[in-house]
């Protein structure tokens, strides 16, 4: 394989939900790549399709209602969407692992912590029960749960939220995945614990060399941890760039809106009112004509409302989907 080829390449992914009240185009033509070992951030308001993108990669969409209707997901050149379910299971938890937002409900309440971590090791590495449990203990110690050996036999209800998320991290990294998808891994935790967990995750990422796809609401988290950022809006990518580039020169009015809604500590920032982006996320069940952001965009004109802007490169390695990319409001 070409050394420069990306680890993961998502091409024109389209994932729709078929429910009684219509078809939701949750992901509507998303393309991006994840390079080996990098940290890629995905941000955007609630409902913009971040989780669905992640779940589509692992093909974990809710059965029957959620369907990938188009596109390709290439892992080291192999299209995951064409794999049979057995081959897909060989990838889940092994080459691509995932951590979810809800640590309180993501662990099985009736299985021991040790078993839940060891299971992945048994499945993917054909390890014996004893070896798998030893690996589980090693992983627990690695995520800094004290007295790891004894805690292997504990159940999730004996752990706090932060500790459960550590267990999830231990589970996800137990088979040395090439890619770790973390879907808002800290949102549900206490603010004091959030930073710890994030730091731990990225530290372990460095050790294992895994690439991380970090889904978050929080732009400051992205600024601190990611190399590249994708901004999503209404099921599409609206902007994509290196992190410093994006923060220095945000091109899309939506990205700018997100940035101005971050509370800043500086005196100058305090004078500026905390602006939330006015308006609502569009209903993804209705067909969108023109730019999906137009109803909320201060720059919108008739052209915007008539024709959807394609994602194009405006600056070096910096793409945006806006007719007026970079123009001042």
């Amino acid at each position: 394989m070409d050394a420069a080829a990306p680890l993961l390449s998502v091409e024109d992914l389209r994932t729709h939900f078929f429910t009684v009240d219509g078809v939701t185009r949750a992901v509507d033509g998303v393309s991006f790549t994840v390079n080996a070992g990098e940290t890629l951030g995905i941000v955007g308001e609630s409902g913009c399709g971040k989780s669905v993108t992640a779940l589509s990669i692992l093909r974990l969409l809710p059965q029957r209602i959620g369907r990938i209707v188009g596109g390709r997901v290439l892992l080291e050149g192999e299209d995951l969407l064409g794999l049979d379910i057995g081959a897909m299971r060989d990838i889940r938890g092994n080459r691509i692992a995932m951590i979810f937002q809800e640590p309180m409900t993501s662990l099985n309440p009736v299985l021991t912590i040790g078993e839940q971590i060891a299971e992945a090791v048994r499945i993917h590495q054909g390890a014996s029960a004893a070896d798998a449990l030893a690996r589980a203990e090693e992983m627990l110690a690695l995520v800094r749960i004290s007295d790891a050996r004894r805690r292997l036999g504990d159940y999730p209800h004996q752990f706090s939220g932060g500790m459960r998320q550590r267990v999830m991290i231990a589970m996800a990294l137990s088979c040395n995945p090439k890619l770790l998808i973390a879907d808002e891994p800290t949102t549900a935790l206490d603010v004091t614990v959030q930073a710890q967990i994030l730091k731990l995750m990225l530290e372990l990422k460095e050790r294992t060399g895994a690439a991380v796809m970090l889904i978050t609401h929080a732009l400051p988290v992205v600024a601190e941890t990611c190399q590249r950022v994708i901004v999503m809006y209404a099921g599409r990518i609206v902007e994509m760039a290196e992190v410093t580039e994006l923060f220095d020169r945000p091109l899309h009015p939506y990205t700018r809106g997100l940035m101005s809604s971050i509370p800043r500590l500086g005196a100058a920032a305090r004078q500026k009112r905390l602006t939330e982006i006015p308006g609502l996320v569009p209903d993804l069940r209705k067909p969108v004509i023109g730019c999906a952001f137009a109803p909320r965009c201060p720059l919108a004109d008739d052209h915007c409302r008539a024709e959807a802007p394609p994602l194009t490169e405006h600056l070096t390695a910096h793409q945006a989907a806006c007719w007026k990319a970079g123009e001042a409001a």
């Binding site: 889940r92 409900t105 993501s106 009736v110 299985l111």
Partner: protein
């Protein structure tokens, strides 16, 4: 754990006491003098007098109850009027066919119903799911004797695959014993299967929508361990609860099934006793069946700690 079991056992005492009171009052609430009720229709006045003396009917009611319960606790359930033998002995003699029928039904019904319920939930909305639910709805509403006669007609009389009726002790060999239990077990178990399959499906549907199932899938867990290890164990508490409660269905059904299939068990004993107004037998059988029901549900209670680590004892 032992302390917990003892505590639960003690907690069943009030229930059993209540059952005992009702069973005791059965005779006293029946129209007419209890002694002549117990003695039966063809008793002589001497017999009635001796029964009255034996039961101490001249004493206050609570004292009579105390004497009676004292006997029951020693395993003395009284004397059958028709057979003129101890009721406990009669019940023991008839126990094997009933226990055989109950256990085969329980094992068959529980395995079949849970399998069906799990499959229906896994393939919710599919043809299989609809078929299972169809069977569950009809299975629950068709009476045991209708199912029984239908099974006999098709499989015993028309196809001649299985015997029409009767019972052979297990000592006569496993197959002759089992062969005669197949149709009765199906007839008896159908409503039970329907009940458990429905609860299993509903509970499994809820569990399969839980986040931890998605976590298991994200780990690469295959379908079978996903269903059985990750999901079913979480669904176990409501399922075993209904298995326990549903034993009441089995107890009621045993009486009818034994009559339809001419099985000489406790059910038949009590049917005959009712026809002969043999009250001591009726009392004894109700006590035994109630005791079994309470013990089964006690076992169910205790099993919660095995299925769910969050249950404290």
């Amino acid at each position: 754990m032992i302390a917990y079991i003892i505590r639960r056992l003690v907690a069943t005492i009030p229930v059993m006491l209540l059952v005992a009171v009702i069973v005791f009052l059965l005779v006293h609430l029946a129209p007419g003098d209890p002694a002549s009720v117990i003695a039966g229709d063809n008793a002589t006045s001497d017999q009635i007098a001796s029964i009255r003396a034996a039961l101490g009917l001249n004493r206050p009611l609570w004292e009579q109850f105390a004497i009676w319960i004292g006997h029951v606790l020693q395993g003395d359930l009284g004397h059958s009027l028709f057979w003129n033998r101890p009721v406990a002995e009669l019940i023991l003699q008839r126990a094997e066919p009933t226990i055989s029928l109950a256990i085969t039904t329980l094992i068959l019904a529980v395995t079949i119903s849970i399998t069906l319920g799990v499959l229906a939930a896994w393939k919710a909305g599919s043809g299989l799911d609809r078929a299972v639910m169809g069977v569950a709805v009809t299975g629950f509403s068709v009476p045991v004797f209708v199912v029984g006669y239908l099974l006999v007609f098709v499989f015993a009389i028309q196809l001649r695959w299985l015997p029409v009726q009767g019972y052979r002790p297990i000592a006569d060999g496993l197959w002759p014993w089992f062969e005669r239990l197949i149709l009765p077990s199906i007839a008896l178990g159908l409503a039970y299967v329907a009940l458990i399959a429905r609860i299993t499906r509903t509970t499994m549907l809820e569990v399969l929508a839980e986040d931890y199932i998605r976590t298991a899938e994200a780990k690469g867990v295959a379908t079978r361990p996903m269903l059985l290890k990750h999901a079913l164990k979480n669904a176990a508490v409501p399922i075993v609860t209904i298995v326990g409660i549903g034993v009441a269905l089995l107890i009621g059904g045993v009486v009818i099934t034994e009559t339809v299939f001419n099985i000489p068990g406790i059910g038949r004993l009590v049917v005959d006793a009712i026809a002969r107004r043999d009250y001591p037998i009726i009392q004894g059988v109700i006590l035994v069946f109630s005791g079994v029901y309470v013990l089964v549900n006690l076992a169910v209670d205790i099993s919660y700690t095995f299925f769910d680590p969050r249950v404290r004892y």
